[in-house]
Symmetry: C2
């Protein structure tokens, strides 16, 4: 690659303030929010910060011309290393494309650029009675484009569904440099569902340059309850009991003893420090129903042995109850120098045995594990605490988390609840997908990106080149069935 | 093609009662529910009715070996001609794979074979408190597999969303004969979303052999209201007013004067015959809320000039109110020998001008048009009435419906609300998709089906061969950007 020539051409596209190629400045872009211990650090050759879709299109055409990898990136809050330029090349940072282009209340959508911050969109639409439902914990920093790439979740996904349920259409620059719109405001789009393919594809199929999002009406009333239990088991039972009663909370979050203690020490959210587990339950909807449901939830929690149930009486109390949950990851610094966050999902009914298994593995590997997670939809987040400078500890963490993932998959769960696969979990993909599954995905990937320039070494297991797999597969078919491929 | 040899090999797979090759018996399979006047009739070389996924897999392998087209088919209730074997070959009828394999209430899903009838699944799960939400008008006959292929809608999609919102995973035989599972019970599946690609792909990417569907909890209470208006305009205003009030009905259906008259003559559903339009509004949820919302809907309808509002007091009254709507298409025979059903969607706010345009086009082309449709989500169903034996009438119908589609697209709508593209609308695809859009879809299609054996001549515009397009596109890229393709 003629780095100098590439740099000059990129400069002409984005201007001097849109390009970062100084080695010191590039340091920042070697990392995202994934743990360096596991994801490593990877310096892009050049970072560009385009301001328009036209610029993105020109950048992609140039990458094709030079044959260099392209890695799209939002705010870099991803936890699976999907935004790391593992093979160098051009890192395309989308944060300057942050305009809200249209808010259409009557038809319930907005068109935004991918660099718009998740929370800012909701703050902007709130006075008009709407919000953007997906709310990852990083919502103060993460971008809508990143939410699309990772099909992000968040506490409110229990009731409102993950990001894919809230994306109506996308403008996207494809790996060949073409720019298309997929989807639209109608509930169904004819032809092959390209919007569906692109959401969650982690930057491997293109760069999103505009997003048409569904806006959700703000509920009339919101209430938050905190229920304390002696142990995770009874809190899990209460979770099941609430869902089984027909009440669908907006959020149903669980925290274990270790998390409660860390949160209290760091933020004084007022959680009961002696509890073995707490549930944070948010109800929303019509005022009357929320009040009724709250009474019923209190009853159900007591029936499952809750030692204490608090109902927030003011918005301030609500915020305080949420504060602990939202700051839980940050509070972990009190407990250990490092933590590794496992993101996995099990069927809700499998929560109690899964929590027991996590506890057993914690003992077996002599690693403390804090649990803070979306109990309502079975999305676990065990935080495995460690110190990277203690010899052998990293290896134990890896073995322990592999065992957790394997167990979750064995009971019918999956590899990721909301953080994606990226670099971090690519080698676990074979736990849940057969070679045939991966080949079908690889074929699709190749149809978008035949030269495999877009976010290489992500999602697919290492050693699994889409091109090779495609060729091998076609040869096998040709041999078996006497087929000629055009 | 050695038809004799193919037949013998198929016979070995499905047995003598699983194959239909007698020309007289094949007649039945020349048609689906689309209008023969527009879709024509197309005889498959052989029809097979497999009983297992293994058999489907063997059939597909055989089709590859012989290089013959494969057209999957459910109950044949589709209105866009997607289940017609346009190029002959093997028609794979899935109706005998009709077992419900698992109902899991606690985790809220069922696993069914694709030939299960839509309504039967809901009837089966109802005693346990669940139903399958998508409810196309053909739900007494259509199959879940057909719903998946067409991403079917129905009256209740307003509240519950189209089929894609209710499919958790699929077992599918790919065009290369491999069998894979996509998705699963978790709300999000890692990697590329193959479930999303397959739902709505109209049999062009594979044959679904098992479906994991989301089950929805039955609401505590249901109520149905009928509101009569002087004209479509005021009924449209009431529709907007109801949605704007924050009430989300389970269904919000509109019928115009012509439809009301036909329905009354045929079925005596008790609709007010002098009304210019009626709205059928179903509310569901908690009993108290349904009652409150019903009062509010009555008020809103009166505010928009409703001449009469009826509230069903018993389940029998509810059924009667629905009867007219559900039988509307059948009642059209009273008005004309033929009708052409246009399925299109506009933003809800564009309903009043769209209805006026339909009326104008009706006058301009001297064709009576009945309107019966899902007003709540802007999904129009103008029924253009005609007599195929009146010279020039068919041509006028085609010009009129093209104008309707063009108008809907111009105001921000789309080609199909729920019936799919199939054969019928393939040539309209260029109204909403650019060559680049179609190329991206074609590339994806080719990655699944490189030999284009699966449901050929569907969805993509005529003269648009996925293979050619792909080749042309790669040549253009090679030329422009100096790219080599492996």
């Amino acid at each position: 690659m003629d780095r100098q020539a590439l740099q000059e051409r990129l400069l002409r596209i984005v201007g001097p303030d849109g390009i970062i190629d100084d080695p010191d400045e590039l340091l920042v872009y070697e990392y995202d929010a994934s743990d360096e211990v596991f994801a490593g650090h990877h310096r892009p050759d050049i970072t560009v910060l385009p301001r328009t879709a036209d610029q993105v299109q020109e950048i992609v055409k140039l990458a094709n011309e030079f044959g260099v990898p392209v890695t799209p990136r939002g705010a870099g809050t991803g936890l699976a290393g999907a935004a790391l330029a593992v093979r160098g090349g051009i890192l395309v940072v989308m944060t300057r494309m942050n305009r809200v282009l249209e808010i259409n209340e009557r038809d319930g959508y907005a068109i935004v650029e991918p660099g718009v911050i998740n929370l800012e969109l909701s703050q902007l639409t709130q006075p008009r009675g709407y919000f953007f439902a997906p709310d990852p914990s990083s919502q103060r920093a993460c971008t809508i484009g990143g939410n699309v790439a990772n099909n992000s979740g968040g506490p409110h996904c229990l009731k409102y569904g993950v990001t894919s349920n809230h994306i109506l259409g996308l403008e996207v620059v494809l790996p060949n440099g073409e720019r298309i719109w997929t989807g639209g405001p109608a509930p169904e789009s004819p032809g092959i569902d390209l919007t569906g393919v692109l959401v969650g594809s982690e930057g491997t199929l293109g760069i999103v340059t505009k997003v048409m999002v569904r806006l959700t009406r703000l509920p009339e009333a919101v209430n938050v309850l905190l229920a304390a239990f002696a142990d995770l088991e009874s809190a899990s039972q209460a979770t099941s009991a609430i869902i089984a009663s027909g009440i669908l909370p907006a959020a149903l979050e669980m925290m274990d003893h270790l998390t409660i203690k860390a949160v209290e020490a760091a933020f004084h959210a007022g959680y009961p420090e002696d509890a073995g587990a707490v549930l944070l339950i948010e109800l929303d909807g019509l005022a009357e129903i929320v009040a009724e449901s709250a009474d019923r939830v209190v009853e159900l929690c007591r029936g499952c042995g809750a030692t204490e149930v608090r109902v927030a009486r003011t918005p301030r109390e609500r915020e305080l109850l949420w504060l602990g949950r939202k700051s839980a990851f940050g509070a972990m610094g009190r407990l250990a120098p490092n933590y590794y966050l496992v993101d996995t999902t099990v069927p809700r009914t499998k929560l109690p045995p899964t929590m027991r298994t996590v506890e057993e593995l914690s003992r077996e590997y002599r690693l403390r594990i804090a649990n803070v997670f979306h109990a309502g939809d079975g999305n676990l987040h065990p935080l495995v605490l460690f110190d990277r400078f203690v010899p052998g500890e990293i290896e134990r963490v890896l073995r322990c988390t592999t065992d957790i993932l394997q167990y979750c998959v064995d009971v019918g769960g999956t590899l990721s609840g909301e953080h994606g696969i990226g670099l971090e979990k690519r080698d676990y993909m074979t736990l849940i997908f057969t070679t045939e599954d991966l080949c079908a995905m690889a074929g699709l990937k190749r149809s978008f990106d035949p030269r495999e320039l877009f976010n290489p070494d992500k999602v697919f297991p290492s050693g699994f080149s889409c091109g090779e797999v495609n060729a091998i597969r076609q040869q096998a078919m040709a041999k078996r069935l006497g087929i000629e491929f055009v």
